[in-house]
Amino acid sequence: MGLINPAAASEAGERTVVSEASPNFVTTTLDFLTNWARSNSLWPMPFGTACCAIEYMATAASRFDIARFGMERQSFSPRQADVFICAGRVPFKLAPVLRRIWDQMPQPKWCISMGACASTGNVFDNYTIVQGIDTLMPVDVYVPGCPPRPEGLIYGITLLQKKIRGESIVDEQLRQEQLVGPSGLFLPPERVDELSEPFGNSVHQTRSSS
């Protein structure tokens, strides 16, 4: 991951220059340097709530080994974490816990929604499951699958790294907290309803039998 590795240099564009006088000097942009550091040392906060967590464990273990992407430190404390990874379905009862953990994470932070349940509620279009954690908190990467294979999650992680490399430290909006507002939600209620709309086969379920 050296700065003078050609791939990394080309990512930073023309702006990263290795001094001709001495290889000990490199000039680059602060954005590139910050994003390079951030994206290669993400500390995940795994929040495994169901079967997807098993695949997450496989991803973290030696065969797939997300330590290769700088994620060797699983942070089980939200205060020392960068990436929130929700692996599994979230019941409404757990929603305040999920939200509080997200609020406890300091900026910069990102969120990966792993699996169909965390992303959409999956087949559990019922009274007890949150229809996608994007109704509770902002999500950066959705990983599809039920469950996603470790390769899928790794692809999601590399996508997140790519996204981080495109960020800019002067863009304050990126680091703004999206708190739960006076409406009791972090999105407008219509938006939550829209995100929770049934789709696919689930449209044919009876909304009410009474």
Binding site: P96, N126, P189, V192, D193, S209, S210
Partner: protein, 206 residues
């Protein structure tokens, strides 16, 4: 092949007469329907009478049928550990009247959480239960009783309202660590367990 009727049916009928409404055999298991008024007496009799000794309450649950005329059934699954015998006892509750039946917590302490779950999901109240609160849904859940057949699959409220109420809940207000702590139950534990806990095998207790 017809399975034999449980030998508990005849003595139970002899003891309780018309309070034993009917019995039937389903998939080899005997099911006895007893009246709501005498259910506690019948279950106590089944537990304490020599020769019956149904000392273990496997489960308490309920069934709501789609047919609105058909009563809701509370189901007790009993087991005699010594005799290796099972028995299913049902109490039919008329849905037009308040759904209430006497708690069997005084007979089997294990009924505590089982009856709470039936209350939570079906809204059946158990008279005499020491702590009848919701157990799966949170305490402030306001949409009703989810396993009733007249409960819409997605709940009564809009998704936004459900999310709002969920986020407003404070989990710590209703579920404390003390509630789950066995320190409170220390005096009631068997002697050998008390000794092990006092030695600190499972962490420091007292």
């Amino acid at each position: 092949m017809t399975a034999p009727v449980s030998p508990s049916v005849a003595p139970l009928r002899a003891e309780f007469g018309a309070a034993v409404e009917r019995h039937l055999i389903s998939c080899g298991d005997t099911i006895i329907y007893v009246s709501r008024e005498r259910s506690h007496d019948a279950l106590a009799w089944l537990k304490d009478t020599p020769g019956q000794e149904f000392d273990y309450l496997t489960d308490v649950t309920a069934v709501d049928y789609r047919d609105p005329e058909r009563p809701l059934e509370v189901v007790y699954q009993l087991r005699s550990l010594a005799r290796r015998a099972d028995l299913r006892v049902k109490v039919a509750l008329d849905k037009r009247r308040p759904l209430e039946v006497r708690s069997v917590w005084d007979l089997w302490k294990g009924a505590d959480w089982l009856e709470r779950e039936v209350y939570d999901m079906f809204g059946v109240t158990f008279a005499g239960h020491p702590d009848l609160r919701r157990i799966l849904m949170w305490d402030t859940y306001a949409e009703g009783f989810p396993l009733r057949k007249d409960f819409p699959l997605r709940g009564h409220f809009s998704r936004a309202e459900q999310t709002r109420q969920a986020l407003a809940a404070n989990p710590e207000a209703h579920y404390s660590l003390e509630e789950l702590s066995i320190a409170d139950a220390f005096a009631e534990l068997p002697k050998d367990m008390q000794e092990r806990l006092a030695r600190g095998e499972r962490g420091f207790l007292r």
